[in-house]
Amino acid sequence: MNAVGRGLLLAAALLCACQQHDRGGAAAPTLKISNVLAADQTLVRALDATPRTLDPSLLTDIPAQHVTDDLFEGLTSLAVDGTVIPGVASSWQVSADGRSWTFHLRPEARWSNGDAVVAEDFVYAWRREVDPKTAAEPAPSLAPLQNAMAIIAGKLPVSELGVVALDARTLRVVLNAPTPYLLYLLSDSFMQPLHRPTLERFGDDWVRPEHIVSNGPFVLADELTGNRIGLRKNPRYWAADTVRLQRLIYLPFEDRSAQVTRFEAGDVEFTDSFPGAQYHWLKSRLGDQVISGPYLGIFMVGFQMNHGPFAANQALRQALSMAVDRDILTQRVRDGLYLPAYTLVPPLPDYQAPEPAWAKWSPTQRHAAARKLYAQAGYSTAHPLRVELMYNTDPDNRANYEALSAMWRANLGAEVQPYNEEFRVMLQDLQLHKPTLFQDAWIGDFPDPLTFLQLFQSSHPQNYGQYSNARFDALLTAAGAEPDNAKRVADFAAAEQLVDDQAVCLPLYFYASRHLLKPYVRGFQINVQDRNLSRYLYVLEHSGS
């Protein structure tokens, strides 16, 4: 893919040169958009990869989630701005201890074959999810539900899961602990209902267009793996009168540059992303058609805390963190696409991570402090730190590490050598805890600090740096059991303070979602989860290109 990317860039550069001459880089000068709805409500969206399955209980990839967000609807759904709203459930009550939730299903909710969506459909789907026989990768996401983990481990039968259908339209969900983000979880694919008769009749083939029965705003019309996924409006969807798109086509791409090309050719109207390195060039060429905004993800560098130069050397880790000029990294290297990060958790509606004081210092002041810590750690120009930094083979990443290496050399005199490994080789090395300095990144599952902080829990499978701190673990456990949200947030803030003070990881920048969107496609609003349901999108009458 490297080669493809290079070719596209070269071609792009050629075209850019001609274009600037011709029309000064102006975007889409011949497009005329009127204020009335287009007669043909068809939208073509791109996907970053071919979905691995459209079974909502099994999928783990984001492209598949985009499609199932249109095909299915959980107890809750998402508004255009990404906030949670009622879905199949029209209302709910929570018990005083926050552990028992009662959901009332709307009577007008229907499956695409006309059957009513009932509470039992959720019970069936969730039990299937945690059943070890299903081998569903996202099953641990149901962990807040009572007994879920024991069922996944094969220690209890699926009937012990904390969910009961009180009657056809009432569902009781019992949790291990109050879970304020439950409503977000309920909108996710792995919590969407399933039409039991269809699954029992067709087995693994139930997701094929000829068999599938779904309950979302759209139904699957046709699918050719690796080529296109065609959807059409579901007239039986309970809010069908608010859905304007009649047809929706998803085209999967393995290469982000190809999405850009097809967008420019007019074959795609809404891309899933674009190569980060092309941001500046696209912005100058396509103007407002380039959309980006905060995304619930963090890009960082991880330290091995168990062996190597960073273990038991907090001063060294801090020195490395303070010597990084994040403004230069985000503004110059990444063209202003991302926001600099000084904390692990991105800004959230109810939570603002405590930023370290040095984040506001001048570069000179910061570098001086970093050098002091570097010396304190036992290193100097005569005896520099020599270490390798492992990252995943992705041309988009390379510039980051070259810049980091240069900053550490200039500001500290450290010799950090970046080297890359193919993604799965890197994962294996991380699981074996081989690298001492490595690329790390995380996309949050829901807008809550827990999804980021748990990465450093000593028992977490993804704790590649092997950080282990009893107080940190205790704070997260306390926050997990805390019904009072203010106290919960305070526990999280204390836990975060701990990892930030000890420089357990080196946050670089918060991710940004990035799309190309034709100006005649409306109803889009950027949101931190980057889940953009097609039920809100519509097409205006337009001519030209």
Binding site: A12, T60, T134, E137, A139, P140, I152, A258, T261, A265
Partner: protein, 307 residues
Amino acid sequence: MGRFIIRRLLVAIPTLLVIATLAFALLHATPGGPFDSARRLLPEIQKSIEARYHLNEPLWRQYGRYLADLIHGDLGPSFQYRNTSVNELIAQGLPVDALVGGLALLAAVLLGSLAGVVAALRQNSWLDYLPMAVAVLGVSIPVFVIAPVLILVFAIELHWLPGGGWSHSPRQLVLPVAALACPYTAYVARLMRGSAIEVLHSPFIRTARAKGLPERSIILRHAWRPMLMPLVSFLGPTFAGVLSGSIIIETVFGLPGIGRYFFTGALNRDYTLVVGITVLYGALIIAFNLLADLCYAWLDPRVRHAA
């Protein structure tokens, strides 16, 4: 001739077995597994998934299971596309590659041969220099440059043709076929020029000229068959290559061919998919080399008599 074909087909069986074994062994030796992901799985789930795909069994048993399925023509389930079998993916992708690759090779053979033969007949004139200069360009510019440039010019700027996609519209075929045909046309032109010059200087053509035959009938009756010999040896493996997909063309134009599956399959350690496509490629190479040998016999009496 019949015995020759049967012998070649019999040799093909152990060859394919070696290919399958090597591909299987190499792929299992690469670090990382098909179900490793950025989100590390719980050990319990990892176990259930491995049991589902028999990955928990010893390697020799997995291999035995794979071979038994292979003999029955079943290439197994794809690991990365959960509800799809490798047979289905190949059945979907092969016709796409056959159509695009077949048309590209057809264009390459027709245009390239014409340019090559004309260049040989008008050696050292502008009819030789110009096409050969273009051919050098065509051979040296990689497809990953030609394809995006074609899209930029014909799809983005001029809006004459779609920039890719696959919905059986002939218009969508034009750019991928043209991009794929470019290097092949250039190569065939160079090949045919060399071959034509060699044949036109050989003793039997000199004899024909001495007999006073007109140039037209020398070419159309005597020279064309031996001229095609190098082309045939080129086309055999090349056709097998295009049938198993061009990763770049498929990626740039968004075609659902098997080259893309092969590429993503290798990255995602989709063992069955990659071994399946490798075996298919091996079988195609064997089949087309056999076909090329049969064409030799038809084109060249010396080969026929030696057989």
